[in-house]
């Protein structure tokens, strides 16, 4: 068992525990702040998986903008954010069963398919910005361009949705 494995297991545990606190937290603001811990731990997992650029993009976009956007939306709607502001629906027992069964099923499928596989730490190719830029702008340039159109459409859609209607 190498040092990378141990650190990975520890950070994975941090990610899972903070994700559990996200979904069980009583207050929405606490859930959003625990999400920052989860996303940071996942960024650490990306670094350990030699995905350097992806980790930085995760920190910049997820922790930097998505969480801030969430907090902004909570402030803009002036919803109550005190204790008991994030209650559950009547579906909770069924949701627990479905989520647990899905997790077990996914784990079983992964174990059946990739149970004994090992990531060879001497063979990994570090995902630097140069390599990923090469991959995106040579091989994946069409999805990249389509994605820019999707972002533009989402921008326009968000503006239209939040604009107050004119009579």
């Amino acid at each position: 068992m190498t040092a990378v494995t141990v650190v990975f297991a520890a950070m994975g545990l941090v990610a899972l525990v903070s994700a559990f606190l996200v979904v069980t937290s009583d207050q929405i603001i606490h859930a959003a702040l625990w999400l920052v811990v989860t996303l940071g731990a996942v960024a650490g997992l990306y670094v350990l998986l030699a995905a350097e650029l992806v980790a930085w993009v995760q920190v910049l976009i997820y922790m930097g903008s998505v969480v801030v956007l969430l907090l902004f939306a909570l402030m803009l709607t002036r919803t109550p954010t005190g204790p008991g502001s994030a209650t559950v629906t009547r579906n909770q027992p069924l949701a627990t069963v479905v989520a647990g069964a899905t997790t077990v099923a996914l784990g079983a499928v992964m174990w059946a398919g990739f149970g004994g596989e090992v990531i060879d730490e001497d063979e990994v190719r570090v995902g630097t910005a140069a390599r990923l830029g090469d991959a995106i702008f040579r091989t994946w340039v069409l999805p990249f361009e389509v994605l820019s159109v999707v972002l533009l459409a989402a921008l326009v859609g968000a503006i239209v949705l939040t604009r107050r209607g004119e009579r």
Partner: protein, 110 residues
């Protein structure tokens, strides 16, 4: 490092996100659950990319696309939450009144 380690973390994150989507009442909590599920999928993609030692970095490129799509999704989702809050006064995904009266007078504000 065994490949199962990132896969197990990813399965756990996905299950927790699914629970949040199914069980929580507030729409923003549902969006948080979706973010967790997207992160689980991204972790899988990066893990398989590293395992395969992919020369064109399919998994990591796709992860970058997923992150960009997640940003677009959260922007649109929060716009919908804002519009919902403006129309009915709360952001719950369950137990709303049927929106007939809303549509009768000024449904364009939705």
């Amino acid at each position: 490092m065994p490949l199962m380690l990132p896969l197990v973390v990813s399965c756990g994150l996905f299950g927790l996100g699914l629970y949040a989507v199914l069980a929580r009442r507030h729409a923003v909590m549902v969006l948080l659950g979706i973010e967790l599920m997207l992160n689980a999928a991204s972790l899988n993609l990066v893990a398989f990319d590293t395992w395969w030692a992919d020369t064109v970095h399919t998994g990591q490129s796709l992860t970058l696309f997923v992150i960009a799509l997640a940003a677009a999704e959260i922007g649109l989702g929060l716009a919908i939450v804002l519009a919902l809050f403006r129309a009915v006064g709360n952001s719950d995904v369950d137990g709303q009144e049927p929106p007939t009266s809303l549509l009768a007078e000024g449904g364009d504000e939705l």
